[in-house]
Amino acid sequence: MLKVVVFIKQVPDTSSKAGVNPDGTIDRARAKRMLNNFDRYALQKAIEIKRSVGAEVTCVTMGPPPAIEVLVEGLEHGADYGILLTDKRLAASDTLATAYALHKVVGYIGQVDIILTGLQTTDGDTAQVGPQIAERLDLPQISYCESLTITGKTAKARRVVEGGFQNVETAMPLLITVANSATPLGHKRFIEVAQVKEMLRTPEERARRIKSVSLDDVGADAARTGLVGSPTVVGKTWKLGEVGGSCKVFEGEAVETEVARLLESLAADSRNIAEMLHG
């Protein structure tokens, strides 16, 4: 059976108001948490592979203990195992450090056929972690993958490229970053949700399906992770202002007049935005 690993990350809930700390970092304690939206496409791909050709799917996340929630979510969607890499020394890891730590988890799992990641995250937004893991593991990578066909140990993929798409084919093992134009994550099935609930109540079963590991467990060098292992320097962060506002309805006059008013208003808004961006 194919072994599939999917990297998923817990991020601050984009619909809740996350604050920015005085030092410019995100105040994660105050924000509600959610599964990174881009990773939902990667998870869906993993489940599709499992349901079409049969596979054992392991979700891996790196984060503080509450990140276990996204593993449970992955299992409720049909994944088989979850691994949480959690360690105080990981705090403030940049993409270099994150990819280093995550590639060690792949080594810890052992033989893997397909590694899936999302395109990017909604908090870090660099889209670097997936490709970096591939480089560290010296694996072929297919980025921006939209659709995928598996035959034996080969993967045929359609990638989104500027102005069109590209068909590629490569042998396993490989790493794939899944585009957000791929199939969206499906609905949880009752049976899977019910079984996960039961599993969480059975300590042995829970320990078998969800593991929490430290840097030492995966054989990672702590000096290459966390703040010390992260060369990134954050210059400055600032709040761009509140998103939202109220809906403006153009009505009361003839349609032509209203459309003209709408266009004028849009033009004025874009002037304001340009001013805001360019000072």
């Binding site: 609905h187 009752f190 109220s246």
Partner: protein, 567 residues
């Protein structure tokens, strides 16, 4: 594959369902016995499909959570000031004599959706490190009832096609679904007594400039002047929020009620305008209210393996608008009986029937029985309101309610006195015999001629909304491929449209929908019934008023629907 089975399965995580779950957890914890409970709720999040007033007698909340004032139970406030207000297009005045059931001083002011969200969260906390398991399935709608012979064995909650994957089984199923699925149970076992009389309630939450917390108004009059049952409510919530709503009986002859617009009309009155000044609309929603009470309760509230609680069992009491406390009490009794039955290993109808006995012998039954003619009193005495109320209100708008009252009296003293006496007698519990209520769907008249109302002057245009704009504030979201309302026969709709349009009215589904879902499409000279299901707030009004029983609102799947949180 092992089938998924619980001791108790609760269908519907509203106030009754979650009350039953809490009570069961408490009972099992006290007895120290393991218990497995499941709650299935069609909304994505608990509370997101729950809409109520709500001002409630604290008795049931106190019984379930004796420490509700300190345990984090979300209260919006306590009523410190209660008004029954006569609303005219220009002026408003408190009624000089209000029936005692409308005095809400000391009652709890709640956002029932917030209460349900809290109760679900708290339920999980409560069971940590105990032998009691509560599995919450929000986002899963119960679609069919499962039977083994005459015994209910659970519900189907998924549609992969494999029964062992789709079904949730239980020894006892408690239906607290406001009738959405349990109506099938009532039909199968022929449990209905009389028809139900429904009202539809539309409600908005406003963030305002002023603090109205602890204040409660119930209004009569404008814009419901045609004798139909209904009225407005305005509740001051904490954090400068205001709940404002309108309830209108669906036993109306008017096929074009436009419930959201009745609420807008009420908002246009100067009395409401001064409250909304500087505020903004935060949320909108709608829900139905089963108002008939005693005579419309199912004959039996339990069958083999199942029980019915809350609005599904018709416990809502229109006298004093007592729905929340009665739904909770019924759920607590149902839970107690279910727990006892499981302990004795007897889940037969005979064992579960103790629930009905206890409910009807207790205060819920006594109060419902005493008010059994209350709602009907208004149906029977429509003329009292349509003939005299406008005259009284005209007097009020001119500045003197007395003059209006006197005028009304002399305009037809006989009718007023006899009608009034009849109304008071029925409201007070007088009357005799079984009531057989008409089906609401038989009430709308194609030729109904609604009298246009003079609009209040000087209202702020941006404080009222067109129905398509209001829907935006219900935050509805549907999954791809959703088709939760079923139309049975397009030809029947065509005839219905022709019949109502001949009377210059839209068909009732179009006229009474709370979210601009239904419409009549004219194309190539033919007219047909259309639905924009992505707007639907799942109130079920359209199904109730459809004269031909030609549509059915089914539970929407995958957590689809409105988001009523905060309402």
């Amino acid at each position: 594959m092992k089938r998924i089975e619980y001791d108790v399965l609760i269908v519907g995580g509203g106030i009754a369902g979650l009350t039953a779950a809490h009570r069961l957890v408490d009972a099992a914890k006290t007895a120290g016995t393991p218990l497995r409970i499941a709650v299935v709720e069609k909304a994505k999040n608990f509370g997101a499909h729950v809409l109520s007033g709500a001002v409630s007698n604290p008795r049931s909340v106190k019984k379930l959570f004796p420490d509700y004032e300190t345990n984090g139970f979300p209260l919006e406030g306590k009523c410190a000031e209660s008004h029954l207000t006569l609303l005219g297009a220009q002026r408003a005045k408190d009624m000089p004599f209000a029936p005692p059931e409308m005095n809400k001083t000391g009652y709890l002011i709640l956002s029932l959706s917030n209460v349900c969200a809290w109760m679900a969260e708290n339920l999980v906390e409560k069971t940590k490190d105990t032998a009691v398991a509560v599995d919450l399935y929000n986002g899963f709608a119960a679609q069919d009832i499962l039977y083994s012979g005459q015994r209910v064995t659970g519900v189907r909650v998924d549609d992969t096609g494999a029964p062992e994957q789709d079904n949730c089984y239980a020894k006892i199923t408690i239906f607290a679904d406001k009738g959405l699925l349990s109506r099938d149970l009532i039909e199968k076992f022929n449990l209905a007594q009389s028809n139900q009389t429904y009202a539809v309630g539309v409600k908005e939450i406003w963030e305002t400039d002023q603090d109205f917390s602890g204040k409660v108004w119930h209004t009569l009059g404008y814009p419901l002047m045609d004798g139909n049952f209904g009225g407005g409510f305005i509740y001051g919530l904490k954090d400068k929020k205001l709940a404002i709503g309108m309830v209108a009986g669906l036993d109306s002859e008017n096929p074009n009620l436009q419930p959201p617009q009745i609420l807008q009309a009420m908002k246009k009155t100067p009395f409401v305008q001064q409250m909304l000044k500087g505020g903004k609309l935060a949320r909108y929603g709608a829900s139905i209210i089963p108002e008939a009470g005693w005579f419309a309760m199912p004959k039996e509230l339990a069958v083999d393996g199942a029980m019915i609680a809350g609005d599904a069992a018709g416990t809502m009491d229109i006298k004093g608008f007592s729905g929340v406390d009665k739904a909770m009490e019924s759920a607590m009794i149902a839970a107690d009986v279910a727990f006892g039955a499981l302990q004795k290993n007897d889940i037969s109808k005979a064992a579960l029937a103790a629930y009905q006995e206890a409910l009807l012998d207790g205060w819920v039954g006594q109060e419902l029985k005493a008010s059994r003619y209350y709602r009907h009193a208004f149906h029977e005495n429509k003329a009292l309101f349509s003939d005299y109320l406008p005259v009284v209100l005209k007097g009020l708008d001119k500045g003197c309610m007395m003059s209006g009252g006197v005028k009304a009296f002399f305009s037809g003293p006989g009718g007023l006195i006899s009608g009034g006496l009849n109304l008071l007698k029925l409201m007070g519990g007088g009357g005799s015999g079984e009531l057989r209520l008409p089906e609401d769907r038989t009430c709308p008249k194609p030729k109904h001629n609604a009298v246009p109302l003079a609009e209040p002057e000087g209202f702020a245009k941006n404080s009222v909304y067109l129905t398509p704009d209001m829907v935006f504030y219900a935050h509805t979201h549907y999954h791809h491929g959703n088709d939760h309302i079923k139309e049975f026969d397009a030809a029947v709709c065509k005839k219905c449209i022709a019949r109502f349009e001949a009377g210059n009215n839209p068909p009732p589904c179009v006229g009474d929908c709370t979210a601009d879902v239904h419409s009549v499409l004219a194309k190539d000279g033919a007219k047909s019934h259309q639905m924009a299901l992505e707007n639907c707030v799942q109130c079920r009004t359209c199904e109730i008023v459809c004269p031909e029983k030609n549509i059915r609102v089914n539970p929407a799947l995958h957590g689809s629907g409105p988001d009523f949180r905060g309402l």
